[in-house]
Protein backbone atom coordinates (compact mmCIF):
# COMPACT_ATOMS: atom_id res chain seq x y z
CA UNK A 1 0.00 0.00 0.00
CA UNK A 2 2.75 2.40 0.94
CA UNK A 3 6.14 2.32 -0.69
CA UNK A 4 9.14 3.21 1.40
CA UNK A 5 12.49 3.96 -0.17
CA UNK A 6 15.18 3.91 2.47
CA UNK A 7 17.61 5.41 -0.01
CA UNK A 8 15.50 8.49 -0.59
CA UNK A 9 16.56 11.76 0.95
CA UNK A 10 13.07 12.40 2.30
CA UNK A 11 12.79 11.00 5.81
CA UNK A 12 10.95 7.72 6.16
CA UNK A 13 8.42 9.12 8.62
CA UNK A 14 7.56 11.74 6.01
CA UNK A 15 7.19 9.10 3.33
CA UNK A 16 4.71 7.35 5.59
CA UNK A 17 2.74 10.56 6.09
CA UNK A 18 2.61 11.16 2.36
CA UNK A 19 1.71 7.55 1.74
CA UNK A 20 -1.28 7.68 4.05
CA UNK A 21 -2.50 10.97 2.63
CA UNK A 22 -2.12 9.62 -0.88
CA UNK A 23 -4.01 6.44 -0.06
CA UNK A 24 -6.86 8.49 1.36
CA UNK A 25 -7.11 10.75 -1.67
CA UNK A 26 -7.05 7.73 -3.95
CA UNK A 27 -9.83 6.16 -1.92
CA UNK A 28 -7.73 3.19 -0.90
CA UNK A 29 -8.19 4.21 2.70
CA UNK A 30 -11.64 5.50 3.57
CA UNK A 31 -12.82 7.72 6.41
CA UNK A 32 -13.49 5.65 9.51
CA UNK A 33 -11.27 2.82 8.33
CA UNK A 34 -8.85 1.37 10.84
CA UNK A 35 -5.14 1.74 10.26
CA UNK A 36 -2.66 -0.99 11.19
CA UNK A 37 -1.24 -0.52 14.66
CA UNK A 38 2.15 1.11 14.99
CA UNK A 39 3.83 -2.26 15.43
CA UNK A 40 1.94 -3.89 12.59
CA UNK A 41 2.71 -1.03 10.26
CA UNK A 42 6.35 -1.14 11.29
CA UNK A 43 6.37 -4.82 10.39
CA UNK A 44 4.71 -4.23 7.05
CA UNK A 45 7.05 -1.41 6.10
CA UNK A 46 10.14 -3.08 7.56
CA UNK A 47 10.73 -0.02 9.62
CA UNK A 48 11.51 1.05 13.13
CA UNK A 49 8.28 1.40 15.20
CA UNK A 50 9.50 4.76 16.46
CA UNK A 51 9.43 5.98 12.89
CA UNK A 52 5.83 4.89 12.36
CA UNK A 53 4.91 6.39 15.69
CA UNK A 54 6.35 9.71 14.65
CA UNK A 55 4.40 9.61 11.40
CA UNK A 56 1.13 8.73 13.17
CA UNK A 57 1.72 11.51 15.66
CA UNK A 58 2.13 14.03 12.91
CA UNK A 59 -0.91 12.74 11.02
CA UNK A 60 -2.94 13.09 14.19
CA UNK A 61 -1.74 16.63 14.65
CA UNK A 62 -2.93 17.32 11.10
CA UNK A 63 -6.28 15.74 12.02
CA UNK A 64 -5.89 13.28 9.17
CA UNK A 65 -6.21 10.37 11.56
CA UNK A 66 -7.68 9.94 15.02
CA UNK A 67 -6.57 7.80 17.92
CA UNK A 68 -9.36 6.11 19.89
CA UNK A 69 -7.68 5.01 23.08
CA UNK A 70 -7.70 1.27 23.39
CA UNK A 71 -9.40 0.75 20.04
CA UNK A 72 -6.78 1.84 17.58
CA UNK A 73 -6.07 4.46 14.95
CA UNK A 74 -8.63 5.49 12.34
CA UNK A 75 -8.91 7.72 9.30
CA UNK A 76 -10.73 10.85 10.39
CA UNK A 77 -14.42 11.04 9.51
CA UNK A 78 -14.70 14.77 9.51
CA UNK A 79 -11.59 15.94 7.69
CA UNK A 80 -12.26 19.18 5.88
CA UNK A 81 -9.82 20.78 3.51
CA UNK A 82 -8.35 23.76 5.22
CA UNK A 83 -5.54 26.00 4.20
CA UNK A 84 -2.88 25.88 6.85
CA UNK A 85 -0.59 28.85 7.16
CA UNK A 86 2.62 26.92 7.67
CA UNK A 87 1.98 24.29 5.01
CA UNK A 88 1.08 27.04 2.60
CA UNK A 89 4.42 28.70 3.28
CA UNK A 90 6.27 25.44 2.75
CA UNK A 91 4.33 24.78 -0.43
CA UNK A 92 5.20 28.18 -1.82
CA UNK A 93 8.88 27.79 -0.98
CA UNK A 94 8.90 24.42 -2.60
CA UNK A 95 7.19 25.77 -5.66
CA UNK A 96 9.63 28.63 -5.92
CA UNK A 97 12.54 26.22 -5.82
CA UNK A 98 10.90 24.12 -8.51
CA UNK A 99 10.43 27.09 -10.80
CA UNK A 100 14.03 28.11 -10.22
CA UNK A 101 15.45 24.71 -11.10
CA UNK A 102 13.00 24.25 -13.93
CA UNK A 103 14.13 27.47 -15.58
CA UNK A 104 17.72 26.38 -15.06
CA UNK A 105 17.06 23.13 -16.83
CA UNK A 106 15.27 24.91 -19.64
CA UNK A 107 11.82 23.57 -18.78
CA UNK A 108 8.88 25.75 -19.73
CA UNK A 109 5.92 26.44 -17.49
CA UNK A 110 3.95 24.11 -19.71
CA UNK A 111 6.37 21.26 -19.06
CA UNK A 112 5.83 21.66 -15.34
CA UNK A 113 2.07 21.87 -15.64
CA UNK A 114 2.12 18.71 -17.71
CA UNK A 115 3.99 16.81 -15.04
CA UNK A 116 1.64 18.19 -12.43
CA UNK A 117 -1.29 17.03 -14.49
CA UNK A 118 -0.13 13.45 -14.24
CA UNK A 119 -0.04 13.58 -10.47
CA UNK A 120 -3.38 15.35 -10.26
CA UNK A 121 -4.97 12.64 -12.34
CA UNK A 122 -3.25 9.91 -10.35
CA UNK A 123 -4.92 11.18 -7.22
CA UNK A 124 -8.32 11.29 -8.89
CA UNK A 125 -8.39 7.67 -9.98
CA UNK A 126 -11.16 6.60 -7.66
CA UNK A 127 -13.22 9.71 -8.15
CA UNK A 128 -12.96 9.17 -11.86
CA UNK A 129 -14.41 5.70 -11.53
CA UNK A 130 -17.38 6.96 -9.62
CA UNK A 131 -18.25 10.27 -11.21
CA UNK A 132 -16.17 10.24 -14.39
CA UNK A 133 -15.41 13.97 -14.25
CA UNK A 134 -13.32 15.51 -11.50
CA UNK A 135 -11.85 18.94 -12.08
CA UNK A 136 -10.11 19.40 -8.79
Amino acid sequence: MINIDARSSTPIYEQIINGVKEAILKGILEPGEKLPSVREMAGILMTNPNTVSKAYGELERLKVIEVLRGKGTFISMDYKPKIQEDMMEALKDSLKKIVLDAKYMGLTKKDIVNIMDVYYKELDKEEQNESKEGEN
Copy 2:
Protein backbone atom coordinates in the same frame (compact mmCIF):
# COMPACT_ATOMS: atom_id res chain seq x y z
CA MET B 1 21.53 40.61 -2.88
CA ILE B 2 21.02 37.27 -1.20
CA ASN B 3 18.85 36.80 1.84
CA ILE B 4 19.81 34.18 4.36
CA ASP B 5 17.37 32.93 6.94
CA ALA B 6 19.34 31.18 9.62
CA ARG B 7 16.16 29.78 11.12
CA SER B 8 15.04 28.15 7.89
CA SER B 9 15.23 24.39 7.67
CA THR B 10 16.92 24.59 4.29
CA PRO B 11 20.68 24.62 4.85
CA ILE B 12 22.48 27.91 4.52
CA TYR B 13 24.74 26.66 1.75
CA GLU B 14 21.66 25.70 -0.23
CA GLN B 15 20.09 29.08 0.32
CA ILE B 16 23.25 30.59 -1.11
CA ILE B 17 23.07 28.31 -4.14
CA ASN B 18 19.46 29.25 -4.76
CA GLY B 19 20.22 32.90 -4.16
CA VAL B 20 22.96 32.96 -6.77
CA LYS B 21 20.86 31.09 -9.32
CA GLU B 22 17.98 33.45 -8.69
CA ALA B 23 20.15 36.52 -9.04
CA ILE B 24 21.44 35.24 -12.37
CA LEU B 25 17.99 34.52 -13.76
CA LYS B 26 16.83 37.94 -12.66
CA GLY B 27 19.78 39.53 -14.40
CA ILE B 28 21.21 40.94 -11.18
CA LEU B 29 24.32 38.88 -11.77
CA GLU B 30 25.47 38.68 -15.37
CA PRO B 31 27.64 36.12 -17.16
CA GLY B 32 31.31 36.92 -16.68
CA GLU B 33 30.64 39.03 -13.61
CA LYS B 34 32.80 38.46 -10.57
CA LEU B 35 31.22 37.08 -7.44
CA PRO B 36 32.35 38.29 -4.04
CA SER B 37 35.26 36.18 -2.84
CA VAL B 38 34.49 33.39 -0.43
CA ARG B 39 35.66 35.49 2.50
CA GLU B 40 33.83 38.60 1.34
CA MET B 41 30.60 36.72 0.80
CA ALA B 42 30.96 35.13 4.21
CA GLY B 43 31.28 38.61 5.67
CA ILE B 44 28.26 39.90 3.77
CA LEU B 45 26.07 36.99 4.73
CA MET B 46 27.37 36.84 8.28
CA THR B 47 28.26 33.21 7.87
CA ASN B 48 31.31 30.99 7.89
CA PRO B 49 33.63 30.97 4.87
CA ASN B 50 33.44 27.17 4.75
CA THR B 51 29.71 27.40 4.24
CA VAL B 52 30.13 29.78 1.34
CA SER B 53 32.87 27.56 -0.03
CA LYS B 54 30.57 24.58 -0.03
CA ALA B 55 27.93 26.54 -1.91
CA TYR B 56 30.45 27.81 -4.46
CA GLY B 57 31.78 24.30 -4.90
CA GLU B 58 28.34 22.97 -5.70
CA LEU B 59 27.63 25.85 -8.07
CA GLU B 60 30.90 25.13 -9.85
CA ARG B 61 30.00 21.49 -10.18
CA LEU B 62 26.75 22.61 -11.80
CA LYS B 63 28.79 24.83 -14.13
CA VAL B 64 26.83 27.85 -12.95
CA ILE B 65 30.03 29.57 -11.87
CA GLU B 66 33.68 29.02 -12.64
CA VAL B 67 36.92 29.63 -10.82
CA LEU B 68 39.77 31.52 -12.44
CA ARG B 69 42.85 30.45 -10.54
CA GLY B 70 44.00 33.10 -8.16
CA LYS B 71 41.61 35.65 -9.62
CA GLY B 72 38.33 34.66 -8.08
CA THR B 73 34.96 33.22 -8.93
CA PHE B 74 32.84 34.29 -11.88
CA ILE B 75 29.43 33.65 -13.37
CA SER B 76 29.88 31.20 -16.24
CA MET B 77 29.83 32.70 -19.71
CA ASP B 78 28.60 29.66 -21.52
CA TYR B 79 25.95 28.12 -19.29
CA LYS B 80 23.59 25.98 -21.29
CA PRO B 81 20.36 24.61 -19.85
CA LYS B 82 20.65 20.89 -19.53
CA ILE B 83 18.23 18.45 -18.01
CA GLN B 84 19.97 16.53 -15.28
CA GLU B 85 18.50 13.21 -14.28
CA ASP B 86 19.02 13.64 -10.57
CA MET B 87 17.54 17.10 -10.43
CA MET B 88 14.65 15.98 -12.60
CA GLU B 89 13.91 13.19 -10.13
CA ALA B 90 14.03 15.60 -7.21
CA LEU B 91 11.85 18.08 -9.05
CA LYS B 92 9.23 15.44 -9.79
CA ASP B 93 9.18 14.22 -6.20
CA SER B 94 8.84 17.75 -4.99
CA LEU B 95 6.03 18.39 -7.44
CA LYS B 96 4.22 15.26 -6.38
CA LYS B 97 4.40 16.33 -2.77
CA ILE B 98 3.01 19.73 -3.70
CA VAL B 99 0.06 18.27 -5.56
CA LEU B 100 -0.65 16.00 -2.63
CA ASP B 101 -0.63 18.80 -0.08
CA ALA B 102 -2.49 21.12 -2.42
CA LYS B 103 -5.34 18.68 -2.79
CA TYR B 104 -5.37 18.20 0.94
CA MET B 105 -5.73 21.90 1.46
CA GLY B 106 -8.44 22.11 -1.16
CA LEU B 107 -6.37 24.03 -3.67
CA THR B 108 -7.22 23.52 -7.32
CA LYS B 109 -4.69 22.98 -10.04
CA LYS B 110 -5.41 26.50 -11.17
CA ASP B 111 -4.47 27.87 -7.77
CA ILE B 112 -1.09 26.22 -8.02
CA VAL B 113 -0.49 27.38 -11.57
CA ASN B 114 -1.31 30.90 -10.49
CA ILE B 115 1.29 30.83 -7.73
CA MET B 116 3.77 29.36 -10.15
CA ASP B 117 3.03 32.16 -12.59
CA VAL B 118 4.15 34.73 -10.07
CA TYR B 119 7.51 33.07 -9.61
CA TYR B 120 8.00 32.52 -13.32
CA LYS B 121 7.48 36.21 -13.94
CA GLU B 122 9.65 37.19 -11.01
CA LEU B 123 12.53 35.29 -12.55
CA ASP B 124 12.17 36.75 -16.01
CA LYS B 125 14.79 39.40 -16.38
CA GLU B 126 13.46 40.48 -19.77
CA GLU B 127 10.12 41.46 -18.36
CA GLN B 128 11.77 43.12 -15.44
CA ASN B 129 14.11 45.29 -17.43
CA GLU B 130 12.18 45.91 -20.60
CA SER B 131 8.66 44.65 -19.91
CA LYS B 132 8.69 42.45 -22.99
CA GLU B 133 6.52 39.42 -23.51
CA GLY B 134 8.29 36.10 -23.05
CA GLU B 135 6.48 32.80 -22.76
CA ASN B 136 9.12 30.91 -20.88
Copy 3:
Protein backbone atom coordinates in the same frame (compact mmCIF):
# COMPACT_ATOMS: atom_id res chain seq x y z
CA MET C 1 42.03 -1.83 3.49
CA ILE C 2 42.74 1.70 2.36
CA ASN C 3 46.15 3.27 2.55
CA ILE C 4 46.41 6.97 3.20
CA ASP C 5 49.60 8.86 2.56
CA ALA C 6 49.34 12.14 4.41
CA ARG C 7 52.40 13.44 2.58
CA SER C 8 50.97 12.82 -0.85
CA SER C 9 49.92 15.81 -2.89
CA THR C 10 46.60 14.20 -3.71
CA PRO C 11 44.07 15.24 -1.08
CA ILE C 12 43.18 12.72 1.59
CA TYR C 13 39.51 12.75 0.68
CA GLU C 14 40.45 11.84 -2.88
CA GLN C 15 42.68 9.03 -1.69
CA ILE C 16 39.70 7.67 0.20
CA ILE C 17 37.51 7.89 -2.90
CA ASN C 18 40.09 6.05 -4.96
CA GLY C 19 40.63 3.53 -2.19
CA VAL C 20 36.96 2.64 -2.01
CA LYS C 21 36.62 2.38 -5.77
CA GLU C 22 39.69 0.19 -5.91
CA ALA C 23 38.44 -2.08 -3.14
CA ILE C 24 35.16 -2.53 -4.98
CA LEU C 25 36.79 -3.39 -8.30
CA LYS C 26 39.07 -5.84 -6.54
CA GLY C 27 36.09 -7.47 -4.89
CA ILE C 28 37.25 -6.62 -1.39
CA LEU C 29 34.09 -4.61 -0.93
CA GLU C 30 30.97 -6.12 -2.44
CA PRO C 31 27.69 -4.53 -3.52
CA GLY C 32 25.36 -4.20 -0.56
CA GLU C 33 28.17 -4.40 1.94
CA LYS C 34 28.28 -1.87 4.73
CA LEU C 35 31.10 0.62 4.85
CA PRO C 36 32.58 1.68 8.18
CA SER C 37 30.64 4.65 9.55
CA VAL C 38 32.13 8.07 9.00
CA ARG C 39 33.46 8.15 12.54
CA GLU C 40 34.80 4.60 12.40
CA MET C 41 36.54 5.19 9.11
CA ALA C 42 38.01 8.39 10.47
CA GLY C 43 39.38 6.39 13.35
CA ILE C 44 40.79 3.71 11.09
CA LEU C 45 42.45 6.15 8.74
CA MET C 46 43.58 8.44 11.54
CA THR C 47 41.92 11.37 9.91
CA ASN C 48 39.16 13.83 10.62
CA PRO C 49 35.51 12.71 10.27
CA ASN C 50 34.79 15.70 8.05
CA THR C 51 37.38 14.50 5.58
CA VAL C 52 35.78 11.08 5.41
CA SER C 53 32.39 12.73 5.11
CA LYS C 54 33.55 14.70 2.12
CA ALA C 55 34.81 11.54 0.45
CA TYR C 56 31.59 9.65 1.18
CA GLY C 57 29.58 12.58 -0.13
CA GLU C 58 31.44 12.54 -3.42
CA LEU C 59 31.13 8.75 -3.71
CA GLU C 60 27.40 9.06 -3.12
CA ARG C 61 27.13 11.70 -5.82
CA LEU C 62 28.85 9.25 -8.15
CA LYS C 63 26.33 6.60 -7.07
CA VAL C 64 29.16 4.33 -5.97
CA ILE C 65 27.76 4.16 -2.46
CA GLU C 66 24.38 4.95 -0.97
CA VAL C 67 23.15 6.08 2.41
CA LEU C 68 20.37 4.23 4.21
CA ARG C 69 18.97 6.77 6.64
CA GLY C 70 20.11 6.08 10.13
CA LYS C 71 21.56 2.72 9.18
CA GLY C 72 24.80 3.69 7.56
CA THR C 73 26.54 3.75 4.23
CA PHE C 74 26.58 0.86 1.77
CA ILE C 75 28.14 -0.11 -1.53
CA SER C 76 25.54 0.46 -4.23
CA MET C 77 23.77 -2.63 -5.49
CA ASP C 78 22.98 -1.35 -8.93
CA TYR C 79 26.04 0.55 -10.06
CA LYS C 80 26.17 0.77 -13.83
CA PRO C 81 29.23 1.99 -15.69
CA LYS C 82 28.46 5.27 -17.32
CA ILE C 83 30.73 7.58 -19.20
CA GLN C 84 30.71 10.97 -17.56
CA GLU C 85 31.75 13.93 -19.65
CA ASP C 86 33.70 15.66 -16.92
CA MET C 87 35.64 12.59 -15.90
CA MET C 88 36.29 11.76 -19.55
CA GLU C 89 37.79 15.20 -20.04
CA ALA C 90 39.97 14.81 -16.97
CA LEU C 91 41.01 11.34 -18.07
CA LYS C 92 42.05 12.58 -21.50
CA ASP C 93 44.01 15.48 -20.09
CA SER C 94 45.74 13.17 -17.71
CA LEU C 95 46.53 10.75 -20.51
CA LYS C 96 47.92 13.51 -22.68
CA LYS C 97 50.22 14.60 -19.89
CA ILE C 98 51.38 11.03 -19.46
CA VAL C 99 52.21 10.63 -23.12
CA LEU C 100 54.08 13.91 -23.06
CA ASP C 101 56.20 12.97 -20.07
CA ALA C 102 56.67 9.44 -21.31
CA LYS C 103 58.13 10.64 -24.59
CA TYR C 104 60.33 13.03 -22.66
CA MET C 105 61.69 10.19 -20.62
CA GLY C 106 62.20 8.07 -23.70
CA LEU C 107 59.48 5.57 -22.86
CA THR C 108 57.80 3.87 -25.79
CA LYS C 109 54.08 3.37 -26.13
CA LYS C 110 54.65 -0.27 -25.32
CA ASP C 111 56.31 0.61 -22.04
CA ILE C 112 53.22 2.55 -21.02
CA VAL C 113 50.84 -0.17 -22.10
CA ASN C 114 52.84 -2.66 -20.09
CA ILE C 115 52.52 -0.59 -16.92
CA MET C 116 48.84 -0.18 -17.62
CA ASP C 117 48.48 -3.91 -18.00
CA VAL C 118 49.69 -4.46 -14.48
CA TYR C 119 47.06 -2.14 -13.05
CA TYR C 120 44.30 -3.57 -15.20
CA LYS C 121 45.08 -7.04 -13.93
CA GLU C 122 45.40 -5.84 -10.36
CA LEU C 123 41.86 -4.51 -10.52
CA ASP C 124 40.35 -7.62 -11.99
CA LYS C 125 38.61 -9.47 -9.20
CA GLU C 126 37.76 -12.43 -11.43
CA GLU C 127 41.38 -13.18 -12.11
CA GLN C 128 42.24 -12.66 -8.47
CA ASN C 129 39.64 -15.00 -7.07
CA GLU C 130 39.29 -17.61 -9.76
CA SER C 131 42.10 -16.94 -12.25
CA LYS C 132 39.69 -16.78 -15.14
CA GLU C 133 40.39 -14.97 -18.39
CA GLY C 134 38.71 -11.61 -18.75
CA GLU C 135 39.60 -9.10 -21.44
CA ASN C 136 38.38 -6.00 -19.71
Copy 4:
Protein backbone atom coordinates in the same frame (compact mmCIF):
# COMPACT_ATOMS: atom_id res chain seq x y z
CA MET D 1 51.89 28.57 -29.68
CA ILE D 2 50.85 27.69 -26.17
CA ASN D 3 47.24 27.58 -25.10
CA ILE D 4 46.40 28.59 -21.55
CA ASP D 5 43.05 27.82 -20.01
CA ALA D 6 42.59 29.82 -16.85
CA ARG D 7 39.52 27.76 -16.01
CA SER D 8 41.43 24.49 -16.03
CA SER D 9 42.25 22.84 -12.74
CA THR D 10 45.86 22.33 -13.76
CA PRO D 11 47.94 25.29 -12.62
CA ILE D 12 48.86 27.80 -15.26
CA TYR D 13 52.59 27.44 -14.63
CA GLU D 14 52.22 23.73 -15.30
CA GLN D 15 50.30 24.39 -18.48
CA ILE D 16 53.22 26.53 -19.62
CA ILE D 17 55.70 23.76 -18.82
CA ASN D 18 53.65 21.24 -20.74
CA GLY D 19 53.19 23.68 -23.58
CA VAL D 20 56.93 24.19 -24.00
CA LYS D 21 57.68 20.49 -23.80
CA GLU D 22 54.98 19.78 -26.34
CA ALA D 23 56.25 22.43 -28.72
CA ILE D 24 59.72 20.93 -28.54
CA LEU D 25 58.54 17.40 -29.24
CA LYS D 26 56.47 18.66 -32.15
CA GLY D 27 59.51 20.45 -33.51
CA ILE D 28 57.92 23.86 -33.23
CA LEU D 29 60.68 24.88 -30.87
CA GLU D 30 64.13 23.59 -31.78
CA PRO D 31 67.21 23.06 -29.64
CA GLY D 32 69.18 26.27 -29.36
CA GLU D 33 66.18 28.43 -30.20
CA LYS D 34 65.53 31.45 -28.03
CA LEU D 35 62.43 31.61 -25.90
CA PRO D 36 60.53 34.85 -25.32
CA SER D 37 61.65 36.61 -22.16
CA VAL D 38 59.59 36.15 -19.04
CA ARG D 39 57.86 39.48 -19.57
CA GLU D 40 57.25 38.91 -23.25
CA MET D 41 55.83 35.46 -22.59
CA ALA D 42 53.65 36.87 -19.83
CA GLY D 43 52.32 39.41 -22.30
CA ILE D 44 51.68 36.78 -24.96
CA LEU D 45 49.90 34.44 -22.58
CA MET D 46 48.08 37.22 -20.74
CA THR D 47 49.51 35.96 -17.53
CA ASN D 48 51.29 37.12 -14.45
CA PRO D 49 55.09 37.28 -15.02
CA ASN D 50 55.62 35.46 -11.74
CA THR D 51 53.76 32.51 -13.21
CA VAL D 52 55.96 32.40 -16.30
CA SER D 53 59.01 32.78 -14.12
CA LYS D 54 57.98 29.80 -12.06
CA ALA D 55 57.48 27.72 -15.20
CA TYR D 56 60.85 28.73 -16.65
CA GLY D 57 62.50 27.90 -13.35
CA GLU D 58 61.04 24.45 -13.35
CA LEU D 59 61.95 23.88 -17.00
CA GLU D 60 65.49 24.89 -16.22
CA ARG D 61 65.62 22.48 -13.31
CA LEU D 62 64.50 19.76 -15.72
CA LYS D 63 67.29 20.86 -18.08
CA VAL D 64 64.74 21.43 -20.82
CA ILE D 65 65.84 25.03 -21.19
CA GLU D 66 69.01 26.94 -20.29
CA VAL D 67 69.46 30.47 -19.08
CA LEU D 68 72.43 32.32 -20.52
CA ARG D 69 72.86 35.32 -18.26
CA GLY D 70 72.31 38.54 -20.11
CA LYS D 71 71.45 36.78 -23.34
CA GLY D 72 68.15 35.12 -22.59
CA THR D 73 66.57 31.72 -22.29
CA PHE D 74 67.15 28.94 -24.81
CA ILE D 75 66.00 25.42 -25.57
CA SER D 76 68.71 23.06 -24.36
CA MET D 77 71.03 21.66 -27.04
CA ASP D 78 71.99 18.53 -25.20
CA TYR D 79 68.73 17.24 -23.75
CA LYS D 80 68.79 13.49 -23.48
CA PRO D 81 65.80 11.40 -22.52
CA LYS D 82 66.34 10.17 -19.03
CA ILE D 83 64.04 8.37 -16.71
CA GLN D 84 63.59 10.45 -13.61
CA GLU D 85 62.63 8.64 -10.47
CA ASP D 86 60.08 11.14 -9.21
CA MET D 87 58.42 11.73 -12.57
CA MET D 88 58.19 8.00 -13.05
CA GLU D 89 56.39 7.70 -9.73
CA ALA D 90 53.97 10.47 -10.65
CA LEU D 91 53.39 8.90 -14.04
CA LYS D 92 52.57 5.56 -12.50
CA ASP D 93 50.21 7.08 -9.98
CA SER D 94 48.50 8.99 -12.71
CA LEU D 95 48.22 5.88 -14.84
CA LYS D 96 46.78 3.91 -11.97
CA LYS D 97 44.13 6.56 -11.41
CA ILE D 98 43.31 6.49 -15.11
CA VAL D 99 42.88 2.73 -15.16
CA LEU D 100 40.69 2.95 -12.06
CA ASP D 101 38.38 5.57 -13.54
CA ALA D 102 38.41 3.92 -16.94
CA LYS D 103 37.19 0.64 -15.48
CA TYR D 104 34.55 2.54 -13.57
CA MET D 105 33.30 4.13 -16.75
CA GLY D 106 33.31 0.81 -18.54
CA LEU D 107 36.20 1.64 -20.84
CA THR D 108 38.33 -1.25 -22.02
CA LYS D 109 42.10 -1.24 -22.16
CA LYS D 110 41.77 -0.92 -25.90
CA ASP D 111 39.74 2.27 -25.56
CA ILE D 112 42.51 3.81 -23.51
CA VAL D 113 45.24 2.69 -25.86
CA ASN D 114 43.30 4.20 -28.73
CA ILE D 115 43.12 7.57 -27.04
CA MET D 116 46.79 7.32 -26.21
CA ASP D 117 47.55 6.58 -29.83
CA VAL D 118 46.07 9.88 -30.89
CA TYR D 119 48.35 11.82 -28.56
CA TYR D 120 51.38 9.79 -29.52
CA LYS D 121 50.78 10.56 -33.17
CA GLU D 122 50.12 14.21 -32.42
CA LEU D 123 53.57 14.50 -30.92
CA ASP D 124 55.19 12.83 -33.91
CA LYS D 125 53.85 15.19 -36.51
CA GLU D 126 57.16 16.72 -37.42
CA GLU D 127 59.08 13.48 -37.28
CA GLN D 128 56.49 12.00 -39.55
CA ASN D 129 57.07 14.72 -42.12
CA GLU D 130 60.79 14.10 -42.14
CA SER D 131 61.18 10.38 -41.80
CA LYS D 132 57.64 9.07 -42.37
CA GLU D 133 57.97 6.27 -39.83
CA GLY D 134 58.33 6.92 -36.11
CA GLU D 135 57.59 4.11 -33.71
CA ASN D 136 58.33 5.92 -30.50
